[in-house]
């Protein structure tokens, strides 16, 4: 804090910042670091997307046309690792970096040097991971879930993958600590916890999830590492271990991880829907409690990812019921969003369009999730394309659309310039049509009996796979528009007003546009806070 204070004095009120490479390498400013996170996430999104296009190209027709089955498995594995740890998680941290200090009335994040460190771990982590594409034996091909014994059959990629995951985990934990400390200690006087925008609330809860489960993942992969190199047999039946134990440990991390990816999306959507409905968020407190309930439940449902491993009946019943319970707080959130739009005055700018698509398509993914919770039916759905359709519905038009909605929503405040609404809307429509053509037919494929993670399939699955692949190219290539619309806004967008959305509330809109380098050099007064708040 003392450092931040001297920093502020030295710079007076002008936005002096270091120039050139140093500005980024030594960055301690939350906006610079946030930008780096977002750019990094975007790069990973395109790399992971390119891998998805390799997958969909191979699946366009039955028969192997382009890649070896081993390389195909590497593509599915790397696509997942890049999208989860490289694209979605860093994008959320980037948005948290940008928005949390502005929303709670702070000048910066609480721990700026830690912030720098947690970002700069990522390029190293992903360099290690991407290097595996060039080592003997190829990139990891046992699925992102790294189930042993299969994952232990990897070649030289194995240690690189494990250490990359360790670096990503450390980065996430440090980023999460920073968010917790900032929110708990740096709120402006008068900004109570229950006055915070919902984005801060969902991120606070996400941060606790990260701190709780990333060490579990680190433990699991370290046990894999010692099984591989040092002769332990945690997961080797021949040495008295149990491969199923890995799955329990992994999914104890993995299920909260799912909410790490989606809770901040709830926050963003809870900001955007009120703004464009010109009406306060309905049921603010119940939204906070619902988020906390979802986070709690996420710790006691993990085994629903592994109903087919052969659990005792009581275990299966418990995990079925606890999983079904998640529908309750999630339903509360959806109903609250609906009630927010009810009797509103709704307009359809790009951020709102993405938020509405989120509302519809995330709910659809929720329905298939509810079906998957039903154990007997899950014996059919499990590891089929039905599951692929389900989690892509909650992750792509769920998490990814919410990230895009957030970027469109806050871009004018960040850059001082407006994006081109026409191109934004075009991007929205192409993405929404593309994502449905891509993923909806996968429900049919899964129900008809197509397993996931196969490079080739029998001819009965040919038709819908072709449709899905066409949707993939439409969705994939329309994302270039996203980059273009941001780039052109930054370069030559129209100047944006301090409050570019008439219905927007929250402290970030009380700052001038573009937001000053050190967001709130002096804490906002209580009257500014109450002007900013609306619930």
């Amino acid at each position: 804090m003392a450092n931040t204070a001297t920093h502020d004095h030295a710079h007076d009120h002008h936005d002096h910042k270091p120039h050139g490479l140093k500005r980024w390498l030594y960055a301690t400013n939350h906006k610079d670091i946030g930008t780096m996170y977002l750019v990094f996430a975007c790069v990973m999104f395109f790399l992971g997307g390119a891998m998805a296009l390799v997958i969909r190209a191979e699946l366009f027709q039955p028969g192997l046309q382009f890649v070896d089955p081993g390389f195909y498995n590497s593509m599915t594995t790397m696509h997942a690792l890049l999208m989860i740890f490289g694209a979605v998680m860093p994008a959320w941290t980037g948005l948290a970096n940008w928005m949390v200090p502005m929303q709670v009335g702070a000048p910066d994040m609480a721990l700026p040097r830690l912030n720098n460190f947690s970002f700069w771990l990522l390029p190293f982590a992903f360099t290690l991971l991407l290097l595996t594409l060039f080592v003997p034996g190829g990139a990891p091909a046992g699925g992102w879930t790294l189930y042993p014994p299969l994952s232990l059959q990897a070649g030289d990629s194995f240690p690189l993958t494990i250490f990359a995951i360790h670096l990503m985990g450390i980065s996430s934990i440090l980023g999460a600590i920073n968010v917790v400390v900032t929110i708990l200690n740096m709120r402006a006087p008068g900004m109570g916890l229950l006055n915070m925008p919902l984005f801060c609330w969902t991120w606070l809860i996400t941060a606790y999830l990260l701190i709780a489960v990333m060490p579990v993942l680190a433990g699991a992969v370290t046990m894999l590492l010692t099984d591989y190199f040092f002769g332990t047999s945690f997961f080797a039946a021949s040495g008295g271990g149990d491969p199923v134990m890995f799955q329990h440990i992994f999914w104890f991390f993995g299920h909260p991880e799912v909410y790490i990816l989606i809770l901040p999306a709830f926050g963003v959507v809870s900001e955007i829907i009120p703004t464009f409905s010109r009406k306060p968020l309905f049921g603010y407190e119940s939204m906070v409690y619902a988020t906390a309930s979802i986070a709690f439940l996420s710790f006691i449902v993990w085994a629903h990812h592994m109903f087919t491993v052969g659990m005792p009946l009581a275990g299966q019943l418990f995990f079925m019921l606890s999983t079904m319970l998640i529908a309750v707080p999630t339903g509360v959130k959806v109903f609250n969003w609906c009630a927010t739009m009810w009797k509103g005055s709704i307009s359809f700018e790009t951020p709102m369009l993405f938020a509405i698509a989120f509302l519809f398509l995330f709910t659809l993914g929720g329905f298939s999730g509810l079906m998957l919770a039903i154990v007997p039916a899950d014996f059919q759905y499990h590891d089929s394309y039905f599951v692929v359709a389900h989690f892509h519905y909650v992750l792509v038009p769920g998490a990814v659309f919410a990230i895009m909605a957030g970027v469109y929503y806050w871009l004018p405040k960040w850059t001082g310039r407006m994006y081109n609404e026409k191109i934004g809307k075009l991007h929205f429509w192409l993405s929404t049509i593309g994502v449905n053509v891509l993923f909806f037919p996968q429900h049919f494929l899964g129900l008809a009996g197509m397993p996931r993670r196969i490079p080739d399939y029998s001819t009965q699955f040919a038709d819908w796979n072709m449709v899905s692949s066409l949707g993939a190219s439409l969705f994939g290539f329309s994302q270039l528009l996203f980059v273009y619309v941001i780039w052109s806004a930054v370069r030559s967008g129209e100047k944006a007003a301090d409050r570019p959305w008439e219905g927007a509330h929250g402290l970030e809109w009380e700052l001038p546009t573009p937001a000053p380098y050190h967001s709130w050099e002096t804490p906002p007064t209580r009257s500014v806070i109450s002007h900013g708040a609306m619930h």
Binding site: S368, I374, P376, Q380, A448, A462, H535
Partner: protein
């Protein structure tokens, strides 16, 4: 409504949701839903799946209806004025917490009932040990001394090679055919004991409604009873990623009458080498045998 009509209706509903219904002219476009299957359990599971589906449709009609209504009725462009006093309602929150809980309980009861039936492995008449290998299946009729491997049929295997130049459409049952199918009798409760030699596999025949993991060092079990009169070939494949050729280890189950089964089994014992020579089995399993396994910690 007859089962047939209901199945047709549900398939249509899936198609409409996909908004691609007009394309359903081609036969395979119609593969939209889970097969009803040929076992007692598969029918129960299918019914459960459809019940869940219709619940989701009903809830979807309500929720999406509410969303669409709001988006149409409260457009700013149509002069809608926001009611900014509407910020919360404890009554509404209670209603939309309690009603979902009730619906979930209604869903959970039949699910639990079916699950209990699935786990009831008493009174099985035949036990077959199924072992997953990279990348084929091994079947062992316990107590009968009949065992053999089952691998991808040669025609498919040749066609599936990268750059084979063979059009998969020209291969009958491309990737769904094996050299030696598993043979089981109809109307018999068959217990399948699952384990694996190397990595985790999963044995899945959609028409039997069931899949389960085959895990090295563990023994899982599942059972099925094919209804009388449902003889024929049923196809499935490995459902757990098991390495390079995961996509190429199909399962074919040949369901025959009890008499045919007895004849087949006797023929196998007499050394008819049609399905598989038992001598090709690796000399000794390097993983513990079933008998030597500790009670597997599976909880």
């Amino acid at each position: 409504m007859t089962r047939h009509a209901r199945t047709a209706l549900s398939a249509t509903a899936f198609a409409i949701l996909g908004s691609l219904a007009p394309l359903a002219a081609h036969a395979e476009w119609g593969n939209l839903n889970m097969p009803v299957g040929v076992t007692v359990l598969s029918k129960e599971i299918h019914a459960l799946h459809m019940t869940m589906f219709w619940w989701c449709v009903a809830i979807g009609v309500f929720v999406f209806g509410w969303m669409i209504w709001s988006l149409v009725a409260f457009r700013k462009s149509q002069g809608a004025k926001p009611d900014t006093t509407m910020t919360h309602s404890t009554k509404a929150e209670i209603v939309w917490t309690v009603i979902p809980v009730v619906i979930l309980v209604i869903m959970a009861i039949p699910a639990a009932r079916t699950l209990i039936a699935i786990e009831d492995t008493r009174n099985t008449e035949i036990s077959i040990k199924v072992t997953g290998y990279q990348w084929k299946w091994h079947y062992d009729y316990l107590g009968e001394d009949v065992k053999f491997f089952s691998s991808l049929a040669r025609a498919s295997d040749e066609a599936r090679q990268l750059g084979s130049g063979v059009n998969p459409e020209s291969v009958e049952n491309y990737l769904r055919d094996v050299d030696n199918p598993l043979v089981v009798p109809e109307d018999t409760k068959v217990r399948v004991l699952l384990t694996a030699q190397d990595v985790i596999h999963a044995w899945w025949v959609p028409a039997f409604g069931m899949k389960k993991d085959a895990i090295p060092g563990n023994v899982n079990e599942l059972w099925f009873k094919v209804e009388k009169g449902k003889t024929g070939l049923y196809r499935g494949q490995c459902a757990e990623l098991c390495g390079r050729d995961h996509g190429f280890m199909p399962i074919v189950v040949k369901v025959v009458t009890k008499d045919e089964y007895r004849t087949w089994l006797a023929g196998q014992k007499a050394g008819e080498s049609t399905p598989a020579d038992a001598s090709s089995e690796p000399a000794a399993d390097s993983s513990p045998t079933i008998a030597a396994l500790p009670a597997a910690p599976q909880g």
